[in-house]
């Protein structure tokens, strides 16, 4: 353990959790048609149950999130080495009667971050950075305000996330985090790391992102960061998992960003183990073709 210097048992297991979307306005017994916020249900099928209703279009009741975390405490916490947590920790902006505010978004993120940190921290230590299980969070498109929009740092929002994840972002990365909202954690010191990549800088739906070709683009900057960090891990003989909220597939990434990102994953295949993402709520995988991306880049040039 890099913090305590003590030996830690490694289990060969880790958890990926994503898109919790807790909704403080969720009301048990309200109408599912009214996004589980209010109204008398039309019938029993329209009644919002305590733990949420699958495919109904409502966000998570706080009970679903709390009981999920409790279940993790009892069943997984002491059997895993680290947690990859890929964002979207607030409700959707799906009710015009109660539009989300920046404060609500940050407050909910702070609340959830506090719960997660408490769950995985070392209860016998006074050091807030001492975790039994390392946690690597990343920012989701619903964790920012306005929805999807996130500017290259330093901004008030990157500073806020640095404050909220203060114990989770390694201290020496404070300044680069303020700029990129991305960081790397050595989950097994000197051997294995997880990169938290702020994929919003590559995301097509972020109005501040056009492409990854101009230096003034956030995507250009995040790729600079990614390249430098990957090379450093290669030099150190370490392996890495990539993680982020928006999956790097053509449908999601801005022009040029998809191909450039794919190239990095392809050319660092000596150290990258894989990439874990959320956002789409569906369990599936996409094989991305590095050689096809080289072709696309050559053609665009």
């Amino acid at each position: 353990d890099a913090i305590t210097g003590l030996e830690r048992k490694i289990y060969g297991r880790f958890l990926h959790i994503t898109d919790m979307h807790p909704d403080a306005f969720y009301k048990e017994g309200s109408s599912i048609e009214n996004v589980c916020h209010e109204g008398k249900p039309k019938n029993t099928k329209d009644r919002a149950p305590r733990f949420g209703y699958a495919t109904g279009g409502c966000d998570s009741p706080p009970d679903l999130v709390n009981y999920t975390l409790e279940w993790i405490t009892e069943n997984l916490r002491d059997k895993i080495d680290f947690v990859i947590w890929t964002g979207d920790n607030v409700r959707h902006d799906n009710d015009r009667r109660i539009p989300r505010t920046e404060f609500q978004i940050l407050d909910m993120n702070e609340l959830i971050s506090g719960k997660i940190q408490k769950l995985f921290s070392n209860p016998n230590s006074e050091n807030p950075r001492d975790f039994d299980v390392s946690v690597v969070p990343s920012i989701g498109n619903n964790d920012v305000f306005p929805h999807n929009m996130f500017a290259l740092g330093p901004t008030l929002q990157t500073r806020e996330y640095h404050r909220i994840w203060n114990n989770l972002v390694p201290q020496e990365q404070q300044r680069t985090f303020d700029r990129s909202a991305s960081f790397a954690t050595e989950v097994i010191p000197g051997k294995l790391a997880v990169l938290s990549i702020n994929t919003l800088y590559l995301f097509k739906a972020n109005p501040l992102v056009d492409n990854c070709n101009s230096k003034k683009q956030p995507g250009y900057q995040i790729l600079l960061w990614l390249g430098a960090v990957l090379e450093e891990f290669r030099q150190r003989g370490m392996k890495v998992w990539l993680s982020g909220h928006v999956p790097p597939i053509e449908k999601n990434f801005a022009e040029g960003c998809f191909d450039k990102y794919t190239l990095w994953t392809h050319e660092y295949r000596d150290i990258i183990i894989g990439g874990l993402y959320g956002h789409m709520n569906m369990d599936h995988f996409i094989p991305v073709d590095g050689e096809a991306s080289w072709e696309a880049i050559k053609q665009s040039e």
Partner: protein, 283 residues
């Protein structure tokens, strides 16, 4: 002038209204019931898995030197070389009940963990990140100097660039150099320390949980007692389960699965059921 200004205002208002409508629609879609997810998955099958299948069908057979090998028709790459072209983007199910809430536990190889000593660098992380910060800072200063937002300056920059034509263009630092040939393939491609070996997909069957919870309440349990007894995640499936058990989770295992999903209806149906966390969702 007045008319033009009025027209301009109308145009702006129209634009504002359209923008609001679009934002509203998007917000509604983002938080609404799942729509078109089956169609999306079918597109993944047709456009991605099918392409992977086609590519590996053309792989150079192991006995490629033999007379039967039609060099024109087949790719010059072997199956392993084709797998090397790919990396895998794993997209996970969520806790939010778009479908049933889910979590994934990954398992990985730690067999040689104790025998491998970390390679400590002489340069500290502190030093590395300071250097990186400087590089990014310098790049940002370049942007300020470029004055890209000023059309006149932009024109001037372009004119100067044209003058310099013929000079080798600056290296784009956001495009990587090719992997040095002497570096071996990593844990995603060959079994070794940290190679992913298996995953277990957990899910909370909300229909069953809520049903149990309300029947426990009716039976006289307190809400806390009922919730404690009713709420649980269970194993939905593991990566080595039928009908498409994966031997491991290397890139080649995913490539083979993609090919199988492109061609085998039974496996594809199960894959779809799992993609929607066993909710039985269809478009």
């Amino acid at each position: 002038q007045l008319n033009t200004s009025e027209n301009q205002k109308d145009d702006d208002d129209d634009l504002d209204m359209t923008a609001h409508a679009m934002a509203g629609r998007e917000a509604h879609l983002m938080g609404a019931k799942p729509v078109g997810k089956e169609a999306y998955m079918n597109r993944v099958r047709e456009r991605i898995y099918e392409r992977v299948h086609q590519k590996i069908q053309k792989a150079k057979p192991l006995d490629a030197e033999g007379d039967d090998y039609d060099a024109k028709r087949k790719s010059s790459k072997s199956f392993d070389e084709i797998c090397e072209d790919y990396s895998i983007v794993s997209i996970s199910g969520s806790v939010i009940p778009t479908f049933n809430p889910s979590l994934r536990v990954w398992e990985y190889n730690i067999t040689d963990l104790d025998t491998q000593t970390p390679t400590w660098q002489s340069k500290s992380w502190d030093q590395f990140y300071k250097t990186l910060e400087n590089i990014m800072e310098r790049d940002s200063s370049d942007i300020e100097n470029e004055h890209l937002d000023d059309p006149e300056q932009e024109f001037e920059t372009q004119r100067k660039k044209k003058k310099k034509r013929g000079k080798k263009p600056k290296e784009d630092k956001t495009i990587p150099r090719k992997k040095p040939k002497n570096l071996p393939l990593g844990p995603a491609y060959e079994p070794q320390l940290f190679s992913p070996t298996r995953f277990v997909q957990l899910y909370a069957d909300l229909k069953r949980i809520n049903k149990k919870y309300y029947s426990l309440l009716e039976a006289g349990k307190t809400p806390d007692e009922a919730a404690g007894q009713a709420f649980q995640y269970e194993v939905e499936y593991a990566s080595d389960d039928d009908p498409y058990p994966m031997k491991g989770l290397l890139v080649k295992d995913f490539v083979l699965l993609a090919s199988k999903l492109a061609t085998q209806k039974k496996s594809w149906n199960k894959f779809m059921e799992r993609a929607f966390m066993s909710t039985g969702y269809t478009d």
